[in-house]
Amino acid sequence: MREIPESVVALLGEDALKRALAEATPGTALCTGVDIPFYPRLSIRSNARALCMLLQTEEQAHFWELLKLSGLRQSGWNVRRFKGDTGAQRLWGIVLGLMERPPALLALEPMSGMNEREREGFAALLRRCGEEGIPFTYTAARLKDVMDLGLPQRLRLALPGGWRETDTAQAEEALAGEEEKNWNKLQLRWEEGEDGKASEA
């Protein structure tokens, strides 16, 4: 059985965003889909090079490594632009968030607007956070998106009265045979008395 990294947590449910923001510890860096710092008229490569000029040598190596992991540093990046490319913008925002080495990072709906390739990059960044123990919490609209990343993760579902914790392996097991893998169905299964354990956050 694959090990579930402790530091990577996906939040699901209607109130997940509101509760996550209310409960976040001070100093947590926030990655939203807006206000992502980049020059819209410059290519991704030029943006990266411009930013690199401001970093120390060891920070530069870390930054290039994160870019490579995210998949942004690939062929065509010298002409590809962030303007209108929501997925690339969100990935860039997460790379910048991780580069600043915050005590914890909270990303709001990071996967919205990402294509298959960008999701792979996001999964690679999550994997790195899991390996290094960097606390990374993110909200997701659909359980299927989280499951499709192919990465064992902790899941927290916002239910009335508190959070309910599980992980992707247990969710997979609970939803075996279901065509649609969404958190409502998972909640229904729990209510029927199947897998999962309740905990007050």
Binding site: L30, F38, R49, L54, L106
Partner: protein
Amino acid sequence: MGKHLRHEVYVLLRRWPALLLILAALIGNYWLGGVKVAGTERYNRRIDAKCYWLISGSEFQSTLESDRYYMKYTHRTEEDILKRYGLEEAEVTELEDIFPLLAGAQYRRCLWFLGGLLFLCMILPPVLIRDPLNSGVPALAARLTRSRRTPALAKIMVYDLCVLLISLISTLIQIGVYAGSIVSQAGFAYVLGTTLLRLLMDLAVLSVPLYLAFLIRRIPGLVAVEAAYGVVCYILNVAACNSDKLLPIPIPAYLHGLRPLWQQGGPAGWIVLAAAVSVVWIVLFTALSLRRFHREGEKRLGVREAAESLKAAN
């Protein structure tokens, strides 16, 4: 500071639309600053012939009569013109020979007039300051380098450098085209001194748009305010050229237009005042801009602020 400057220059050179706009500002500054100067050849549709623009409405009023232009194919001869402008003693055989005699007046016209300011006001601050600030990168740079003012200072330095280069190049072209013989007539020291004073005063006039770019976030609104400021400067500049009095409040755009300031052996007190006022304006508006950037950086959205805004929205 070095890495911030490198960053700014790199970003500027990578943005070719911005470079094109700066080139447009340079051409506009030259074109608007150089019209209506003696010796400019014009086509006159009324008489279907070429004619020479001999005077500039305000500059030549004191030294020449206010004749608007000389038509080459009318009853006037070169002798008429020379007599009219008190140049009978000059050894002139062709009309074009009169123009070098007017070089001093033309040179002063090139210096005091702020015609191209409107272009610079509208183009440079949004392109060089507000657009990059809206991208959020300077705020990120401030966080990464733990320096709250250096990114803005580097941006201001690049802006000042662009203003100086545009002003210098357009002034040199104007002098070359309209008053090429001024160095041999008046001396290199006079030309260098007045050109440097002009650069300093241009920088002072354009330090207000710099602050406005830090102050106003929306680019259309900023362009409108900058255009209004340019018009006010133009009015002050033209008003000053017909006046020999100082305003109670020293304003660079007005001081720029005072013609005695640009004359050879002009009043030293006025020159010192103009230079001092320019330096004060540059320092004042640079400091205000830095302060504004510092305050804008503090408004970064954090987790607590996001939670509060979400609560307020619900």
